[in-house]
């Protein structure tokens, strides 16, 4: 006689008493009831964690993109400052420096600032109606570098020393370096926050899983009685936790994405205000690129996967203790 579900006759013979099969007798109940796992708190925790992670990632992406933009703009310019010097004609020195710049290979555009333009630059600090003649205001010349070209700065400086000894050449390297380290620090801090969020998620999920297992211990014991292995039992729980993780990830990630989606509109409401202008100067239009949204969606899925993984790990550890 076969034992495990192969062909065999009925265990009991009801003869003429054989009943009609009731329509309602069906396997409808899940083995682990959904209500037995206190999911709301876990969904809220995962949603909050995903939201925080998404805001962090989004902010890092915004800062990185803006910093890259600033860097490319600044790196494509050289600024020459010609300072007034006793015994020298500032206008002539500025003109000589402009000509020297134009002769330099790799420079595609040279724009000397006139006396009036230099006064305009100082307006925010010194106000209007000031006679610039009375002040030792240096002249600024902006040179645009051909993309991909690296002008010979040492030769340029030497040439400047000859034609205008008071001129200084600034390729903004120091500023770019500072910008680079600031961006690096921002990304590093973002990664640190993400790591903390992930650790907090794992801890929360582990506690929730332990709680669910404790609440469902009788079910686990019965499943052991009927010959279910740990993998079978763990999978019954795992699908709940994966669903909870996906729900939380969807809510947290979705809210964050909506937030970034609306951020451009929000930024436009504040435009013209001092705060709005500072933000615009720092982060541009405050809008994520499509690749940024993809990164946030991938992150939400990752957090749901981490929830499932942490749950699975705890499930097997707990099953070892339940006989």
């Amino acid at each position: 006689m076969s034992r495990t579900g192969d062909e065999h006759g009925p265990l009991v013979d009801l003869g003429h008493e054989r009943p009609q099969v009731p329509a309602r007798a069906r396997n409808l109940s899940p083995i682990v009831p959904r209500a037995s796992i206190s999911g709301r708190a876990l969904v809220a925790v995962v949603a909050i964690m995903t939201f925080l992670a998404s805001i962090t990632t989004g902010a890092v992406l915004l800062v990185s993109a803006s910093a890259a933009e600033w860097q490319s703009e600044v790196a494509s310019e050289i600024t020459i400052q010609v300072r007034p010097q006793t015994g020298r004609d500032l206008d002539r020195d500025a003109a000589a420096a402009t000509e020297a710049l134009r002769a330099q290979a790799g420079i595609i555009e040279v724009r000397p600032f006139s006396k009036d333009e230099s006064a305009k630059l100082l307006e925010p600090w010194l106000g209007t109606g000031l006679s610039i003649e009375q002040l030792p205001v240096p002249r600024v010349i902006i040179a645009r570098v051909q993309p991909g070209a690296t002008p010979d700065l040492a030769a340029l400086r030497a040439r400047m020393m000859q034609v205008a000894p008071s001129a200084s050449v600034d390729d903004h390297r120091a500023w770019i370096e500072r910008m680079r380290s600031m961006t690096g620090a921002t990304v590093f801090a973002g990664i640190g926050i993400l790591a903390l969020v992930i650790v907090a998620t794992i801890i929360s999920v582990s506690f929730a899983t332990r709680g669910a297992m404790a609440a469902n211990r009788p079910i686990v014991e019965v499943l052991h009685f009927v010959g279910a292995g740990d993998t079978y039992i763990a999978n019954r729980f795992l699908r709940h936790f994966l669903r909870l993780g996906l729900e939380g990830g969807l809510i947290g990630g979705g809210v964050a994405m909506l937030g970034f989606g609306f951020s451009e509109s929000i930024a436009s409401w504040f435009s013209g205000t001092p705060v709005g202008d500072q933000f615009a100067a720092l982060l541009g239009t405050f809008s994520l690129r499509p690749s940024g949204y993809l990164a946030l969606a991938a992150q939400a899925v990752l957090i749901a996967a981490i929830t499932a993984w942490a749950s699975r790990r705890t499930l097997f550890a707990t099953l070892d203790d339940i006989e």
Partner: protein
């Protein structure tokens, strides 16, 4: 099928509650396990069901030394054993039908392949009208019958029953005994732990008597 050699069991640092048990349970055999309360019947059943390991001695089940088995192998062996416990262990969120069908579900079988069998067995144990009832609304006797049905539905090679007729009237007790006998005739080795002398007198079978931790066998 089952071989115990000098098996001893103690809980923690307490005294040995089972001592030097050596016996064989042949395939297709039928036996009652009896003895006074506290003699260790339930502990012996737990050893047989692999939910405990002996403190000493050798337990060999279906040709496997149980001390060498991993968790997955134990789970596989348990599929060949049916057990009825005194506290029934039914799942409260599942109907009677679903509780009885659970072993098949765990095996991964299609419901259509066993539905008729489960319903017939439920009718046989007198639960035909209670298939859709949840355990909390079943009486003690009904729960016991559901637990028995769940233990026998997959036709285990070894059936362990701890006081299986304790909560039912004598008529139903006889009917359940008949079910065990039928199961035994179809090839299952049966061990029924009971205090019920009347039940034992109804069927001529081997008796394993536990007394003060030792086992005496009356063929």
């Amino acid at each position: 099928m089952v071989r115990f050699e000098n098996v001893g069991l103690r809980y923690g640092l307490g005294p040995e509650i089972l001592r030097d048990l050596s016996f064989l349970i042949p395939a297709h055999s039928f036996q009652f396990l009896t003895g006074p309360s506290g003699a260790g019947k339930t502990s012996l059943l737990r050893l047989l069901f692999l939910s405990m390991r002996p403190t000493r001695g050798l337990v060999n089940l279906f040709g496997h030394d149980v001390s060498l088995l991993g968790k997955d192998q134990i789970a596989d062996l348990r599929k060949r054993i049916g057990i009825v416990l005194q506290d029934f262990r039914l799942l409260d969120h599942m109907t009677t039908y679903e509780n009885v069908a659970l072993p098949f579900r765990v095996m991964g079988r299609e419901e259509s392949s066993y539905r008729r069998e489960v319903i017939d067995l439920l009718k046989w144990v007198g639960l035909g009208e209670r298939m859709d009832a949840l355990p909390p609304v079943l009486s003690g006797g009904e729960k016991q019958r559901a637990a028995i049905a769940r233990a026998v539905i997959s036709r285990p090679q070894l059936l362990l029953a701890d006081e299986p007729t304790g909560s039912v009237d004598p008529t139903l007790g006889r009917r359940l005994l008949r079910l065990f006998i039928e199961l035994n005739k179809s090839g299952t080795a049966v061990i029924i732990a009971t205090h019920d002398i009347t039940l034992m007198d109804q069927y001529e079978a081997r008796r394993l008597v536990l007394h003060q931790g030792r086992l005496h066998i009356y063929e």
